[in-house]
Symmetry: D2
Subunit: 437 residues, 4 copies
C-alpha cells in the first residue's frame, strides 16, 4: 500500500476550483434565501441541516460493477480495502457528504486492522455498518469450506448454518474493532423452483440462525435484516419482503431491525409507505439508497425517480420532527456502477440523497397537516410539490463550499486527474461478474 | 319473493343428466385409480377429501359485475338477497361445493331475517363470513348520513369512524343471527395523491377502529382483515399488504386474522409464500379466491394461472397435514362476472378450487421432504409437477356424482333452462358501475 | 342552459388576485433570469414558448370520476356539454393553458350544435380531437340498439361492427362541424378469458373497421388509435400496446396515428422510448396526459412521477428541435378526478405539463449530444437533471400573469366562489360508476 | 478431447431402464386412448406429432449458470464445445426431443470445425441457429480489440459497430459451415441513465448495422432479432420490445424476423398475444423457451407458469393448422441452470415444451371457434382448460419409449452415472459470473 498524494484531497486545489464559481453561487443563494423567507423558511437553518447530513459509502461500490452477462473493468480500480479507502476519501473530500464507509467481508479482509484504522483516521473516515457475505462461496478462505449454493443461514445442513453464523459473528467482531455499531445481514437464500424449499422450515432455520448471531454479537450492536424480493433466487427468497423481515426481527430482539433497500421491492410498491410502517413498528434500521426502473438495478440514487426519493425523505423528516421514539435510521448508498466512474457516481448520488433531504425539510408541515385533516388532497399534494420543485442546488453547493468541499464535485474531480493517477499504479482488474458459460 | 321451482334443483333431473356420462366416468375413474395406486395413493381417500371440501359463494357475485367503464347487465339478475339465495342454491346443487354463502351489507339488507334463514335452510345453505361495506356511500340508508369519500375506519373525522364502526358491529350482529362466525373487513381507505394522508396517523386510526369492532363483536366471532395494494385508492391504501395487515392484526387480538385475496398483490409477488408466512405467524384468516393477470381483475379462479392456485393449496395441505396449531382457514370465492353467466362461473370456479385441492393432496410429501432436505431442486419440483399434471377430473366428477350433483355442471345448468326461467320473473337491472362522467 | 356570470372569468378579479403576488414574482423571475443567463439561456425565449404551449381539456374530466366500487359526487357537477364548457372556460381563464376542449360522444350530444359553437366562441374555447364511445351501451340512444358487451369494432357480429363504425363516422361529422381536426378511437374490445377471442381474427376485424372509418371521415381529419394494456378487458385487449397500434396504423393509412396515454402501459415500461420509436416511425398522434402508480389510475399529470413526464417532454422537444418531418403531436389531458375538485385538478395538471415542457426546453442539447457521443453517461444524465431541478415556477407564473391568467390559479379559483355558485344552480348528480352488485 | 463412453448413450441400457416401466405405461396409454377416443381424438396421431416435435438445446446451457452475485460450479462441467456436444447428446438420447444444438460464438470457437461436424454427426446431432456475442468483451480474441462497454451494433463509434458486424458475419459463416440456417442477434446495447443515449440515433445505427449483417450473410439464412426489456441495460435497451423488433425487421428485409424469449417482457404482458401479432405480421422467428417469475429469470421451461406455455402453443398450433403462410418458427431452449444439473434441466424442460405442444394439439378447435363466434367465453375457456388438464404424460412417455429414449429420463440419467464419469475427466471450473466487487 502506497498512500497516494492527490490534488483531489488538497484543500487549496479545491478552493481554487471553487473560486470562479462563488459569485454566481452567492447570487443564487441570496435569491433563494429571499424566496424561502417569503415562505417563512430560514435558509441558514436548512443549509446547516444539510451540512450535517451524512450517508455512508459502501466499499464495494468504488470498483466497477457488472451484470451476469459482463463486467467491463475501468482503469485504476482499487486493489484492496486500502485503495478503496482512498477512493472513498476523494468522494468525501469533494462532495462532503460521506464521512463514513461501510465495509464488506471477506471482500475487505486485511491482516492489518490497525493499519486500516490508522489510514481511515488519517483520511477523516469512520466506519458504518459492516456487511457479511454468505451469498458467495469463498474457495480460498479456509473459514468457508462448505458451499452456500443451497443457502446459508437457512440451509438444511446445520453445518452450513453454523459456518454462516460464525462468519457473521466474525464480521461483527471486526466491525467492533473498527468502531462500527451495526451488522447488516443480506443473504441470497431461497429457491429457483416451486417445491425446492419448505417455506416454513426455511424461515424457522433463518430465525434460529439470526437469533444466534444476535446473541453472539456485541451488545452495543444493532442487527439489520435486509429483505429482497428476488435475485439471486428467482422463485422464492427467504426474507422476501418487509413483512417477513418484520416477523423475523420481532422474533429476534429489540436491536434487530429491518433495512430498506430501495430496489428490493415488487413493481409499483409504495416504498415510502413501508418506511412509515416500519417507523410505526419501531423497526426501521435504515436504508440502502440507489435507484431502479425494473428490478434491483442498483442505479445511482435519484437517477430514475427522484420524486420517490423525496417521498421517502418526506417520511423520514416527518418521523424526525415528530421525535418518534427510537427513530435513528442508518443511511448508506448501495449501487452498482457499471458504466460510470464509481467515484463520480458516489459523489453525485450522495448529493442526490442530500437534495431529497433538503427538499423534504422545505415542506410546510403545519399546512400539510391542516390539508390532511381537512381532506384537501389537492393542496396537500401541492404542498409537497412546492417543496420538491424548489431548486435547492444553491443550498447544497453552499453547504459544500463552506466545509471546503467542491461546489462542482465532478468538475473538480476531473480536474484533479485522480483517475489517471491511480490508473498508473493500479493494474486493470478483469473478471468478477459476467460470463454465463 | 316467489320461490321458484327449477329443474336445476331437482335431483331426478340431475340424475338423468348424469346417466349417459357415468360409464365413461367409471372407466376414467378406474384407470386413474390404478395409476394412483401404482404411486401409492388410494383414490377413494382423495375422493372423500374432495367431497368434503367446501368454498363459500359470495352473494354479490351472482349478479353481473362491471368495470368503471361499463356494466353490461344480463337477463334474470337477482333482485335481492332472496333471489341471490336461489341462484346460490343452483350453484351448490349442480357443482356440489358451495354449501355456504357470504353476504354483504347493506347490499343484502332485509327486514325479514327469519324468512332469510328459513329460505336458506330450505335450500340447504348456511352462512359464512359477513362482509361490511364502507367503501361506498349509502345515500338511502339513514344509518350512513356521512360520506366515505375520504375514508371510513381511518377517516380524519371521528364521526365518520364511529359510523363505520357501528356499521361493522351491525354486520356482526346480523351475521350472528344468521349463524355466521366471522366478519370480513375490507375498506377502500387510502389516498390518490402523495401528501393526502399522513400514513402513520391513518394507520393508528384504523387500528383503533378495528379494536373497537373487535371489542364489540360477539366473542365467538373471528375478525378478518383484508389487505389490498391499490384500487379504489391509487397512490396509497391504508392496509396495502400483508405486512400492514399483520401489524394491525397483532395490535388487535388473537381472533383478528389476515385474509388473502389472490388478486390484491403487487405484480409477480409470491403469494404462496405469504400464505406460508401467515401460517407461521398463526394469522391466516383464509382466502378470497379469484384469478388475475394484471390487477385485481377478479376473474374466475384458476382461469389465468392454475399452477399458482395449486401452489397455494400445496401450502394449505402442507399446513393441514402438519397439524399446524390454529390452522382453520376460511375459503370464499370473490369474483366479478362481467361477461359470463355468474352461476356458470361460480360452478366452474368452485370446481377449479377443488381441482387445486385434489392435486395438492396427490403430492408425495415424504419424497418432497427428502428432496428438500437433500437440496435436489429438480426432483422436488418434479414431485409437485407430477401431482399437478395428474388429471383429477374423474375424482372431481365422481365426488359430484356420488353426492347427487352434476357430472357436467354447466351442461346440466343449461339443460335446466334456469336462466330463461328467472329472466321471465326478474326484470333487467341496469346501472351499477360504469359511466365515468 | 343559463350562462353564468362568475368572478373566475372576470379579468379584473384575476388582476386583483395577482396584484399582491407580482413583486415576489418579479424578484424570483429576475433571479432565475440571471441564473439562466449564466447557463446561456434567454429566459424570455422560454417564457414565450411556455406561453404558446397548450393542452386540450377533456369534457368528461370536469365531473367527478369514480371507480368500479364507488363514485362520490361533488356539488355543482356539470349537467351537460354547456355546463362543461363553462367549467373548462374557468380552467383556461385561470391557468391559461387549455384553450381547446376534447368532447366525447354520445356523452356530449346536443341537439343544438350552433349554440354549442357560439358558447365556445364566446368563452374563447376551440375544439380538439373528438372521442367516440363504443365501450358502453347507450340504451336510450336509438343509434345503438346492439350491445357492445362482447366488443365493438372487432365484434364477431358484423352488425355490431357496422353500428360502431357508424358511430365513429358520426363523431367525425360532429367534430368537423365544431372545427375539430381529429378523431380518437379507444375501444374496450378484448377478452376476460383465454380462448374467448381468436387473437388474429379479432385483429383483422378491428383493422377492417378502422379502415372503413378512415375511408369515411373527412379527408382533413387525422385518426388516432389509442392502445391500452388492460381494463376493461382483463385477459387480452385487441390494441394492447404500441406494437399492435403501429401494425394497425400502418395497415390503415398515413393520417392514421398512434396515441399514447401515459397510463396504458405495463409496469416499468420505458414510455419515453415508445415516444421516440413512434416519432421514428412517423406515427405519433399525441398524448393523453395523466399519471399513475399502478394501472390506468388516471391521476393528475405529474402527481406521481414528474421526472417521467419530463423525460417524455425531453423526447418531444428533441423531435421538435430536430424538425422531425410530420411531427405535430396533439396534447390532451385525460384524468379521473375522484377526490378533488376537477377544475382545480385540471388547472394544476395543465401547469404540470407546462412545467415539464419548460424544463425540457432548458436542456443544453449541444452538451447532451457531446456527452452522448463521448459515452459520458454521468454528465449526460446530469445535463438532464440540471434542467429538471431548475425551478421554473417563475417562468410559468410570469407567462400566466402576462396573458391575464392567475399567478396562483387555485387560490384565485377558490376566492372566486365558482364552485359554490354553480352548486346553487346545478343539482347533485348521483350514479355513474360504482356499485358492483 | 476424449469422447467418452457412457451408459447414457447406450440403447440397451436405456431399454433396460424402460423395461420395468412399460406395463404401467401401456395401461395408462390405453386408458388415455379410450378417454381421448370419446372426445373424438386419435391418440396415435397425437403421439406421432409429439414424436416429431423438436426443440434445440443451447450449448451454453450445459454449464452451470450464475447470477451477478455468484456462480456455483458443479462437477464435470464441459470444458469446450466438444464436451458440450457430448452433454447435449445425452440430453437428446434420454429425452428424445433435442436433435439439434444452438452454438454461441466466440464461446464455442474451435480451430477444428471439421472435427466438430464429425463429432456432432456421430452423436446424431445437427446445428440450429448460431448466436453472436457482442454483449461481452473478449480480451483474448484479437478480432475484438474494441470494448462493447457502451454498445456494439448501435455504438456511437463506427469502428465498434464495424467490429460487431464483422463478428456477426463470421458467426453466420461458421453457422453455414455447420449446416445452420439462421443467425440470432441479441445485444446488450442500451443505457443505464436517462440521457445516456439518444434513442432515435441509437435505433438508426442499430438498423444500419443489422442491414449490413443481412446483406453480408448467406442468402439461405434467416436473421433473428431478439428483443429484451432490460438487463444488462437498466434504463433503456435499444430493442426493448416486440414493437421495436418489428420496426427493425421491417426495415431490414423479408428474412429478418422477430424472436420471442419468454422472459424478456414487462410484468403481466400477454405473451401469447404478441405471438399472434407476429404471426399476423409474418415476422415470427421462433422462441427462446424458459420460464420466469420476476425478470429474465431463465428458469426451466414450464417451471413457474405452465399454463402460459400452453397458451403460447395454443397460438402456434392454431397458426400451424390454419396453414399460415410463411409460418415456420424455430424452437430453442434458453435457460440458466444455477442450482440443478443442467442435463437434467434440459431433459425435463424439453419434455415440458413437448407437453404444452401435446396439450395444445388436444384443443377441440372446431368447438372453440364456435364458442368464440357465439361469444360464449365460459365454454371457450373450458375448451382450452379441458385440453390443458388432460394428463398427456402417457403420450410423451410412449413417444420416447418408441424412439428408444427413456420413459423416465432423469432416473435413467442418474442410473447411468454420467455426471460422476465426466467429473473424473473434467476439472472443476470456477469463475464466470458472480463477484460484484
Amino acid at each position: 500500500m502506497d498512500q497516494i498524494t492527490t490534488l483531489a484531497l488538497d484543500q487549496d486545489f479545491v478552493a481554487a476550483q471553487n473560486a470562479p464559481l462563488t459569485a454566481a453561487l452567492d447570487d443564487d443563494y441570496a435569491a433563494l434565501g429571499r424566496a424561502l423567507d417569503r415562505r417563512g423558511i430560514d435558509i441558514e437553518a436548512i443549509t446547516k441541516a444539510v451540512s450535517a447530513f451524512a450517508v455512508a459509502a459502501p466499499t464495494w461500490a468504488v470498483g466497477s460493477g457488472g451484470t451476469r452477462f459482463a463486467r467491463f473493468p475501468m482503469a485504476g480500480e482499487p486493489r484492496d480495502i486500502f485503495d478503496k479507502l482512498e477512493d472513498c476519501a476523494v468522494v468525501n473530500a469533494l462532495a462532503g457528504a460521506t464521512p463514513t464507509i461501510s465495509p464488506h467481508f471477506p471482500w475487505d479482509e486485511t491482516s492489518d486492522l490497525p493499519a486500516l484504522k490508522e489510514l481511515a483516521a488519517s483520511l477523516g473516515l469512520g466506519f458504518d455498518a459492516v456487511n457479511s457475505n454468505t451469498f458467495q462461496d469463498h474457495p480460498n478462505d479456509p473459514r468457508h469450506p462448505l458451499s452456500y449454493k443451497y443457502g446459508s443461514l437457512s440451509h438444511t445442513d446445520p453445518a452450513v448454518r453454523a459456518q454462516a453464523i460464525e462468519h457473521n459473528l466474525r464480521c461483527a467482531e471486526i466491525g467492533e474493532a473498527l468502531g462500527s455499531k451495526a451488522l447488516t445481514v443480506w443473504i441470497g437464500d431461497g429457491a429457483n423452483f416451486p417445491g425446492q424449499q419448505h417455506f416454513g422450515r426455511a424461515f424457522d432455520r433463518y430465525i434460529e440462525s439470526v437469533q444466534a448471531i444476535y446473541a453472539g454479537m456485541p451488545e452495543t450492536f444493532r442487527l439489520f435484516l435486509e429483505h429482497k424480493m428476488y435475485e439471486p433466487a428467482f422463485y422464492a427468497t427467504v426474507i422476501q419482503d418487509w413483512g417477513s423481515s418484520l416477523l423475523a426481527a420481532q422474533a429476534v430482539g429489540d436491536r434487530c431491525l429491518c433495512l430498506v433497500d430501495l430496489g428490493h421491492h415488487a413493481a409499483n410498491v409504495n416504498i415510502e409507505m413501508i418506511v412509515a410502517r416500519l417507523v410505526h413498528a419501531r423497526k426501521l434500521a435504515g436504508f440502502h439508497f440507489n435507484d431502479s426502473k425494473y428490478g434491483d438495478d442498483d442505479l445511482d440514487a435519484g437517477a430514475i425517480d427522484p420524486y420517490r426519493l423525496f417521498l421517502v425523505f418526506n417520511e423520514l423528516v416527518d418521523a424526525e420532527q415528530r421525535r418518534t421514539p427510537g427513530f435513528q435510521p442508518s443511511y448508506m448508498l448501495d449501487q452498482s456502477h457499471n458504466v460510470t466512474d464509481p467515484i463520480e457516481s458516489l459523489m453525485t448520488s450522495a448529493v442526490e440523497v442530500q437534495r431529497a433531504y433538503a427538499q423534504a425539510l422545505l415542506v410546510d408541515r403545519t399546512a400539510l397537516d391542516e390539508f390532511q385533516t381537512a381532506n384537501d388532497p389537492l393542496m396537500a399534494s401541492q404542498t409537497l410539490k412546492r417543496a420538491y420543485t424548489t431548486d435547492v442546488q444553491p443550498i447544497l453547493a453552499m453547504a459544500r463550499n463552506r466545509k471546503g468541499a467542491a461546489i462542482d464535485p465532478v468538475a473538480a474531480y476531473r480536474a484533479s486527474g485522480y483517475r489517471a493517477a491511480v490508473a498508473r499504479i493500479r493494474p486493470v482488474k478483469t473478471g468478477g461478474s459476467g460470463g454465463i458459460v
